[in-house]
Symmetry: C2
Subunit: 285 residues, 2 copies
């Protein structure tokens, strides 16, 4: 497994692989890898000659300086996990390597980023789209793998790829969960023992909401209310948002439409740690 | 010389050339080719194995529907000119091919696009950056050639390439002029005989301004005033803007700085046709 530190080294590596006719997969991560990431790497390795995993805690997508500073960084442990999963090259750039000069350009994704993460983390998706564009240009992947836990991110990167005709296929992979349902996240490491015990309540609320959608007895507002009540039954949570939305436009729903794909998304603070999760389902016909 | 009509055909062509180790140059144009374009093509051919010329009147960079409709379209004549200049492939896509779905994403280049063309053509540089990104992704050039006549465009594309780490070298080529100094432009075809006679006055005003800058007797405001008076001495012109600006930040100057690169830019309507031109020079040390 190669370890690459510079943009130029990654570019040269990708160009060599392309010239040799190899299929390249990119798995962009911020490190502190867990089983969710490793499943992306294994899936990529199953169909690609070359699997590049980038580990970069991207400052431009953090709106909160403390969250950026405290984000776990474990490059050595990460590297050990990656080789057996099928990674062939790790890209570990510095901030200066990715941003040698201040960025002037900004992306705006309109209504797609006026809700949920975009509404609560100003500038977040500009940072995401910028770093993803850079990584695509440096690694020239045939496929790029993203976790569905960041549903809005996947939606926005899909729009970016379509709008700028990036020659890359996006693969969105189901959220990997702990045995008790908690979505795997690098931020879970920062939960106290007590917080970790109640954390699964978030996924319980999502499955409750999904059950109510499938039963079709309740309006979107009533589904939302029931699920929010479940979370707020535990006072350790501070709910930031809970949205029942169209899975593609991400706009909140007032009524159900038969066959419509729905995403139910939440963000909540638990002992100062911000967690997100979602489920996707179709309204019964 | 190949003629390619689809994004997929261009992508496949570029990928084949890359795999064969060939150097690709892209010359993006809106067609109605003149000697200025052909010099870009010849310069590209001198150092590249493959020269792709795109001909696409990009609707998203026109803020004026009439200007878009009346923009000259001469693909057959263009194609005849290109082969002897060294073009190896022409890309002639339809609007539907370039924009198979509505674009959601918007670019914002901040202060760089709050002046001159950006200030007077709302959305223009979003359209330019979008189509240039698409063309880069489809044709994978090592080098891309742009005419200096669109100085602000070159500046913004340079920022785009840096900010998104596009793996392409920009080549900016000096403006090619008619014998009487008029900058070559596809829009010149639309000038009446009478308008064509007075049109060189724009470049006269720019050279007057440049002379005054080099003499260093006058402030930027006074230089501007003298040049504007020269244009407005001919009532057929409606001057849209005349700016004496820093060549890199594009912001208007209040004073000279020794060694500073200065761009003097203008846009004017002449008989309903909008013409732009500029000169670049250094303030004497």
């Amino acid at each position: 497994m190669e370890i690459l530190y510079t943009a130029a080294a990654l570019q040269a590596h990708a160009e060599n692989c392309r010239q040799a006719g190899q299929r390249i997969a990119l798995v962009p991560t911020m490190g502190a890898l867990h089983e969710g990431h490793l499943q992306l790497v294994r899936a990529a390795a199953a169909v690609s000659d070359v699997v590049i995993v980038s580990i970069f805690v991207n400052p431009t997508q953090f709106n909160n300086a403390e969250d950026f500073q405290l984000y776990p960084r474990l490059p050595k442990a990460d590297t050990v996990l990656l080789e057996p999963a099928g990674c062939t090259a790790v890209f570990l750039p510095s901030v200066e390597e990715m941003y040698p000069q201040p960025t002037v350009m900004h992306f705006d994704f309109g209504a797609l980023e006026r809700v949920m993460e975009g509404a609560h983390r100003p500038g977040h998706f500009n940072g995401v789209a910028t770093v993803v564009s850079k990584l695509f240009h440096l690694s020239r992947p045939h496929q790029a793998y993203f976790g569905q836990k960041d549903w809005q991110q996947v939606t926005i990167v899909r729009q970016l790829v379509a709008d700028l005709s990036f020659d890359v296929e996006l693969v969105s992979f189901p959220t990997v969960r702990e045995a008790d349902g908690l979505a795997m996240s690098s931020r879970n490491r920062r939960l106290s023992g007590e917080a970790r015990t109640v954390a699964p309540r978030l996924y319980e609320a999502l499955t409750l909401a999904a059950t109510l959608v499938l039963a079709q007895q309740e309006s979107p507002a009533a589904v939302r209310q029931a699920a929010v009540a479940h979370i707020e039954g535990e006072p350790a949570f501070q709910l930031e948002y809970f949205e029942v939305a169209d899975a593609h436009t991400l706009q909140p729903l007032n009524a159900w439409e038969a066959g419509q794909q729905v995403v139910i998304c939440l963000a909540a603070f638990l002992g100062g740690i911000r967690l997100i999760d979602n489920v996707v389902l179709s309204v019964p016909k």
